[in-house]
């Protein structure tokens, strides 16, 4: 095995002189770039800029504590989950600060597990300005600080912690009022009544109504006692179980609640819920975003990045049981299939409706952004095109931005697409295009020598229709001609897409608290993880600059499915099915 001795871990080594000066210079450059409001100080101060000490460098907060706290037990930390390679340490006094710097400046601390870079430490005049929390919040989330007085806080905490019905769960204690919350269905059972809602909570409800935060009286209250270090997995409050909003009251300890976009779990909004605050999880923040609390003993305040120890926390969740089906506008994230609208289509009409909303309309909306991002070609497709004799006629069905039409390769190429926006883009690049439905090709019978259809077949919602696409391609090519069709495969390992989504939740690792119903119905699901859990999914397309997300329908192919489809088409002979980066490249011939 290759091993570079010079790169060996230099544990405990200390940098000095010019080498260290270089490291210091580098860290100050980084500081200027990321936190221009922080000034370097030539005189000692309480605040230290510590380079090579962030998660990005493989240094955890626990390691920082282990290194700094023995030198100053009251030191406080400001850490960054991304972007910055440094942290700030606030010492309890200037004397301590000088001592800490003398000990650690230039040192590669022996206790570091992953990093082999030395700490370069500089004094700074101040810490970075707090950012606005609102910037990170999902839409419609509302937080009112100090909604509960200290006296009421005490009364509520006493009520919950001393309650005879308090029940211990894995990581927290819980007590229900009004109705019992059923953890197997994640809903409240109408007929299983719990202890009545106590007067003190009832008067809190009166106040919520008179303050116009809610209109309907909640009839199900869950109180949770979280020991420091414990949280709750990311989840949606089941749409069909409760009305809007979900009211959450935090007591005793501040905590950071993480909201994750249901269409993109890498989009995380950490939200600080202060003790005694009221939080209304409603609208988009309730229906589209998951929320949860990470299991750990500290939080990083999203406004200041300061590390705050977590105390025992009590939360009250006030909900109103839903008695009519959910009709929220975030139907793709809903737990019922909306009278079939969100189910995997079983007939032609439903398939067409689905393809219109979740394929055609979406492409019209994302056409220009799509064009900016689609340039590289599949190797196997290129090879297929290269093997077609020069001077042949080739159709590109679903030509998109025209990337296979543009090269001047001696072929007579005509493209078509359902999306007008993409037809326009391809035409502006001097491609020959027509707008049409891939299942009704406007080409003369047996008029081409080859046809390709790249990444189209997986947007077609039933087997019958997928079969018809192949039949259409065969209809317009001459006997003996080949067609090349690509689809997404269910197995996305090794694909660029998986790499791109590598920082997202692993579906298996983070079981969503979803209802039984979701797992058994034949329902479309918003794809959120690395691996496809089912074949019919809605895959988000996000335009970052605009913060917009569109959901595209996909039927991803299982191993062997392409072969079966081709076999079912009369007069079609399968040549090969190749796998390339999460795609099946199917080549077949018209007999």
């Amino acid at each position: 095995m290759y091993f570079n001795e010079e790169k060996a871990k230099r544990i405990g080594e200390r940098f000095e002189g010019g080498k260290l000066a270089k490291k210091v210079h580098k860290s100050i450059e980084q500081l200027k770039r990321h936190d221009p409001d922080v000034q370097i100080s030539t005189e000692p101060t309480k605040y230290l800029l510590v380079s090579n000490s962030s998660i990005l460098c493989g240094v955890s907060l626990e390691e920082l504590e282990e290194i700094f706290l023995p030198l100053d037990e009251l030191a406080e930390f400001i850490v960054y989950p991304n972007k910055r390679s440094y942290s700030f340490v606030q010492c309890s006094s200037i004397e301590k600060s000088i001592q800490v710097r003398t000990e650690l400046h230039g040192l590669i601390p022996p206790s570091l597990k992953n990093s082999h870079q030395p700490f370069a430490i500089s004094y700074v005049e101040n810490l970075p300005e707090a950012t606005k929390c609102e910037d990170f919040r999902p839409a419609n989330l509302k937080i009112i600080e100090e909604y509960v007085s200290s006296d009421l806080e005490k009364e509520l905490v006493d009520l919950v912690t001393n309650h005879p019905s308090v029940q211990s769960l894995k990581h927290r204690a819980v007590v229900h009022f009004g109705h019992v919350f059923d953890y197997s269905t994640n809903s409240a059972s109408e007929w299983k009544e719990a202890d009545p809602i106590p007067p003190v909570i009832n008067s809190l409800i009166d106040r919520l109504i008179s303050d116009k935060y809610i209109t309907e009286r909640p009839d199900q209250v869950t109180a949770n006692v979280y020991e420091s270090g414990h949280g709750i997995p990311s989840h949606y409050d089941t749409h069909s179980a409760f009305d809007d909003p979900i009211v959450s009251i935090s007591l005793l300890s501040d905590v950071v609640m993480e909201f994750k976009d249901g269409a993109n779990s890498a989009r995380i909004a950490p939200v600080l819920l202060k003790a005694r605050s009221l939080c209304l999880i409603q609208g988009e923040s309730r229906y589209r975003w998951k929320h949860g609390i990470v299991n750990r003993k500290y939080d990083v305040d999203p406004r200041t990045n300061r590390v705050v120890p977590r105390q025992t926390r009590v939360s009250l969740t006030l909900r109103k049981i839903r008695r009519k089906p959910c009709e929220c506008e975030w139907k793709e994230f809903c737990d019922w299939d909306r009278k079939g609208e969100m189910s995997v289509p079983s007939n032609e009409d439903l398939a067409l409706k689905l393809e219109n909303s979740y394929v055609s309309d979406v492409y019209e909306n994302i056409a220009s952004h799509f064009d900016e991002t689609r340039h590289s070609s599949w190797k196997a497709v290129k090879q297929f095109i290269n093997e077609i004799p020069r001077g042949s006629v080739m159709y590109d069905v679903g030509c998109g931005n025209g990337k296979y039409l543009i090269p001047k390769d001696g072929l007579l190429k005509i493209g078509c697409d359902m999306c007008m926006g993409l037809c326009d883009i391809a035409r502006k690049k001097d491609c020959h295009v027509a707008r049409c439905d891939a299942l009704a090709l406007p080409f003369r019978y047996e008029s081409a020598d080859a046809a390709i259809s790249i990444a189209v077949l997986h947007h077609i919602a039933t087997f019958e229709r997928r079969k018809r696409l192949i039949e259409e391609l065969l209809r317009v090519v001459k006997p003996g001609s080949k067609i090349c069709v690509t689809v997404w495969s269910m197995d996305q390992s090794q694909s660029e897409y998986a790499k791109m989504r590598g920082n997202k939740d692993d579906v298996a690792a983070a079981p969503a608290v979803s209802s039984e119903e979701t797992q058994t119905t034949n329902r479309l699901k918003v794809h959120d993880g690395k691996d496809f859990e089912q074949q019919d999914v809605l895959v988000p397309w996000t335009i970052d600059q605009k913060g917009e997300t569109f959901l595209r329908y996909y039927h991803v192919f299982r191993e062997g499915e392409a072969e079966k489809l081709i076999e079912s088409v009369q007069g079609c002979k399968l040549i090969s099915v190749e796998k390339e980066q999460g795609n099946y490249i199917i080549i077949a011939k018209k007999i």
Binding site: R390, G391, V393, G410, L412, I414, C416, M418, M420, C423, D424, R427, H432, V433, A434, R435, C436, D437, A440, L441, P442, F443, R444, Y445, S447, A448, E472
Partner: protein, 125 residues
Amino acid sequence: MKLFVHNFMSSRFLKNVTVGYPLNLVVKQFVEKDIEFDRDNTIVMLDRIQYEALIVAAAAVNQSDRIPREKPEKWDELTDEQLRVFHHLLMNIDVIDGELICPETKTVFPIRDGIPNMLKVDAEK
């Protein structure tokens, strides 16, 4: 839409249409743009087209008198001058606004901004 493309279009995909070819063409606006002439490429292209549809296309831009009524026997026996006429018709003329019409059902497909819209649902509106 280049007239070359018209040569490959058909309305056979419509219900009860048996041939759907050639499509009638109405040209309301077209532009001419010089695409480089290449003798060999032009011959290759002419080998792929249907002459009857080319006559329809030429008529639509009032240029039928520039090409013979009958298909020439052998394309490679034509002079460059003669081939240039075909090249001009098929590659230089770009229909911006017009209609394609199914010869059997008379269904009208609009050509707007140079793009023929062959969607059945739009045609039926």
